[in-house]
């Protein structure tokens, strides 16, 4: 079920009513049933994979918790992780690898590609997200980070919690389960706050992302024939499309959870205001995934304590694995994601290599280092570096991505002169208008949260802002178009 569907608009109030009617001790059961209904609504077959992951992770967790530290405990963790992450890898890459191998072997032998068996079912929707949640649960049990053992129902709700199951955030059991154990309660303030987040998330998805999508889709599809100006606009639009699509989903997930008294972690923090790619990936973009990689991959690999060479290697490994994790995200499984990961890893290498220099310069010129113009310049450069990487993320192939970047780069000096004569359409103006609006909101929010500002403002302004967003959804929203990009695993 999609958050933008009519079914969901009926589903959510119904679940809220059931939640309110149930005694606090039994609310988890209502939410568990609702989560399974939500997940199985479109494709009931997906419930099998969800049930299987839940049983595997609960049984492994139980076995780990009952075994004393030592090789057996490690073995159980390894077995559980192999099943969970191995199945994720197989779902994502088996068909791709089989095809690539068959093609390569055929070319090597000078024959036609071999016919290879494929996995006959698509990856269950949201599998990447709940597989990572499940894996984090196992590691946290192994590390004894949970205050008490979780029952099968607790684990089931943690894995299946409907607002986050399709596209995160990848919440940790260490923060999620204690909330369940303390009893789920809500109040009018949480309901209102949750509703505001849901509406804002919908605005980002349905008004901004969906209005940017058609132009992006069109031009990335015909990269070889599109004009450089159109490609440049598409690159900018895609950077904001993917941000609004994904963070819109997250806002809705966090908002809905708040309505039920569950606090999910922040997943985006105005990423395009980041002053470096390290800040972008470490503190502002898909924070739950970044922290997952930090805690369960980067640190176990030795992190920054194993010497500079290992540190650089670890950074690159994390970004390459992140690239693999993102593969299949609505744009197929291809080598582009690996390049995307490597490029971001390279940016972070540059960041690490020049960090000392910037620090020393900042110490010498503290006023300039803290000045707004420098912040703007750094955010501008960071945004463009990230946008270049997004081209590999979105393009059909590495060749297409290179073609797009080449066409833009070659004609870049002429582009400013073309702007006054370019036949901009309503689609362009609307897209740029929405992007500017979003940036204005985020700049204001960066200085002091808008929620706080609105709470302190007169009622006409508060209500006016709410009506403006709701009516923009009705008037400008593109409903019933596409699923959330990050759901399409």
């Amino acid at each position: 079920m999609s958050f933008t569907s009519l079914e969901f608009i009926a589903f959510l109030p119904l679940v809220l009513l059931i939640f309110a009617a149930l005694p606090v001790q039994q609310r988890w059961l209502g939410l568990l049933l609702a989560s399974y209904f939500f997940y199985g609504f479109a494709q009931p077959i997906n419930l099998l994979s969800l049930g299987a992951v839940t049983i595997v992770v609960w049984a492994s967790g139980r076995a780990i918790a009952r075994t004393a530290p030592g090789p057996w405990r490690r073995l159980m963790l390894g077995a559980g992780l192999t099943v969970i992450l191995g199945s994720l890898f197989a779902f994502k890459f088996y068909n791709f690898i089989a095809d690539e191998l068959s093609l390569a072997t055929g070319q090597w032998l000078g024959t036609a590609p071999f016919a290879t068996a494929h996995i006959g079912m698509p990856t269950p929707v949201g599998y990447s997200f709940y597989a990572f949640s499940a894996a984090s649960y196992l590691i946290d049990v192994y590390m004894a980070r949970l205050p008490k053992a979780a029952g099968v129902a607790d684990v089931a709700l943690y894995v299946a919690w409907f607002p986050k199951i399709l596209a995160g955030p990848i919440e940790r059991a260490t923060t999620f389960l204690p909330q369940l154990w303390n009893g789920l309660r809500t109040n009018p303030f949480r309901l209102l706050l949750g509703l505001q987040l849901v509406v804002w998330g919908l605005f980002k998805k349905v008004v901004i992302a969906e209005n940017l999508a058609p132009l992006v889709d069109r031009n990335f599809k015909i990269a070889a024939f599109a004009a450089p100006m159109e490609l440049l606009i598409s690159v900018y639009f895609f950077a904001f499309q993917i941000y609004c699509d994904f963070s819109g989903y997250t806002d809705i997930a966090i908002g809905i959870s708040a309505m039920f008294g569950i606090q999910l972690m922040e997943n985006f923090r105005r990423p395009y205001l980041a002053r470096s790619t390290t800040e972008f990936w470490g503190e502002r973009w898909h924070i739950s995934l970044a922290h997952w990689f930090r805690d369960y991959l980067y640190i176990p690999l030795g992190g920054s304590r194993a010497g500079p060479v290992r540190r650089y290697l670890n950074v690159m490994i994390v970004f390459l694995v992140s690239g693999l994790w993102h593969a299949g995200l609505g744009y197929g499984v291809g080598w582009t994601f690996l390049v995307w990961g490597a490029l971001n890893g390279f940016y972070n290498w540059l960041g690490l290599a020049t960090r000392g220099l910037w620090r020393r310069l900042g110490g010498l010129l503290p006023r300039i280092a803290a000045s707004t113009p420098l912040w703007v310049v750094r955010a501008f450069i960071t945004f463009h570096l990230v946008a270049i990487a997004w081209v590999f993320f979105r393009a059909k192939s590495i060749g297409d991505a290179v073609e797009i970047l080449k066409k833009i780069a070659v004609r870049l000096p002429d582009l400013p002169g073309l702007i006054p004569h370019y036949p901009f359409t309503y689609e362009h103006y609307l897209g740029f208008g929405l992007i500017l609006f979003l940036l204005a909101v985020e700049i204001v929010d960066e200085k002091r949260p808008i929620v706080q500002r609105l709470q302190a403002s007169p009622v006409w302004l508060r209500w006016g802002a709410s009506y403006a967003v709701v009516f923009a959804l009705l008037v400008l929203g593109r409903w019933g178009t596409k699923e959330f990009i990050y759901m399409q695993f």
Partner: protein
């Protein structure tokens, strides 16, 4: 009443008032920009009775492109109303015709038959939820009631009446300020250069699945209901197939079976049926893969349609 509840109620009431204003404004806009939507035409036409009403899918629409309908009216001395709309089969056509009969009268009904529209819900039940059609349909309580009735009895998705009464597609219409002109009308004076690949993709679009006898039987029954309705009102029904290019015609699947089935139904109902589909082979008569351009409809009217239309005056 608690202050928070009072405040929430006031917020909702103001929101509803704003929504009502938006609903009204967008409905007025439909009247200002209206042109080809059949329900819009029914709502705005002054005349109570007509000599001919034309129903069908997009192949019937060129008869109303540009000023061609007034040309036909002048030439034949008749009052004609074309209520065809793109991609619509007999179920949607019947809905439109019922809506027409609620306020107007006609002596004759010209039904332009297209086999693709007799196989799939995509061209019938599903068309009721099309935002493009709903977004150009002015609000009327009779339309809303009929939509609810179709939703209950004809398998139309409940979202169609819900969308219509809330005015969602009118409010959400991205082309709200543009005139409601079907893209084909903009190419009316164009001559198409035949393209086998475009013809093939057009056929695939119109016939996405192999035709099934069950689908055909169902929509023939719906069509039979439409003919019966007309005949109950004393309306003479004439069915035609308009010309299409030979390349297009040869690729239509199951056409012989379709012709036989519809021929049988029409003859049972004593409806005249003229098949002109193979009568105009030259590409100069078409603006795209299968629609007549100005030269094409002029030729069709002069040579084939005019005698049929004028024949109605004999029975006046």
């Amino acid at each position: 009443m608690k202050p928070e509840v009072k405040s929430a109620a006031l917020f909702v009431v103001i929101g509803l008032v704003l929504y009502a204003a938006l609903f009204y404004a967008t409905d007025r806009l439909v009247y200002r920009t209206g042109r080809s939507n059949p329900l819009y035409k029914i709502a705005v036409v002054d005349r109570k009775s007509f000599d001919w009403v034309i129903l069908g899918a997009s192949h019937a629409m060129p008869l109303d492109f540009a000023d061609f309908e007034s040309f036909m009216e002048k030439e034949a001395g008749l009052h004609i109303l074309n209520l065809a709309s793109p991609g619509t089969g007999p179920l949607y056509n019947r809905f439109v015709f019922e809506q027409f009969l609620a306020r107007h009268r006609t002596r004759n009904l010209l039904y332009v038959v297209d086999s693709f529209a007799f196989y799939l819900p995509a061209w019938n039940e599903d068309r009721f939820t099309d935002a493009k059609l709903l977004g150009r349909t002015p609000f009327e309580t009779t339309t809303a009631r009929r939509l609810f009735s179709y939703s209950l009895n004809q398998g139309v998705d409940f979202r169609a009446p819900l969308d219509f009464v809330t005015g969602f597609s009118r409010i959400n219409n991205r082309e709200r300020f543009e005139r409601d002109i079907w893209e084909g009308e903009k190419q009316f004076d164009r001559v198409f250069r035949p393209s086998p690949s475009m013809t093939k993709s057009r056929i695939t679009y119109l016939y996405p699945k192999p035709p099934t006898p069950a689908g055909l039987a169902h929509y023939l029954e719906v069509f039979d209901g439409l003919v019966a309705l007309a005949q109950q009102h004393g309306i003479r029904v004439v069915a035609i197939k308009v010309p299409v290019p030979p390349d297009f015609r040869s690729q239509i699947p199951n056409e012989a079976e379709f012709d036989a089935a519809i021929g049988q139904l029409l003859s049972k109902r004593q409806v005249e049926f003229s098949d002109f589909s193979g009568s105009m082979a030259e590409p100069r008569f078409y603006f795209d893969t299968d629609h007549l351009n100005r030269s094409g409809v002029t030729e069709l009217f002069e040579k084939q349609l005019k005698p049929i239309l004028i024949s109605s005056t004999a029975s006046r």
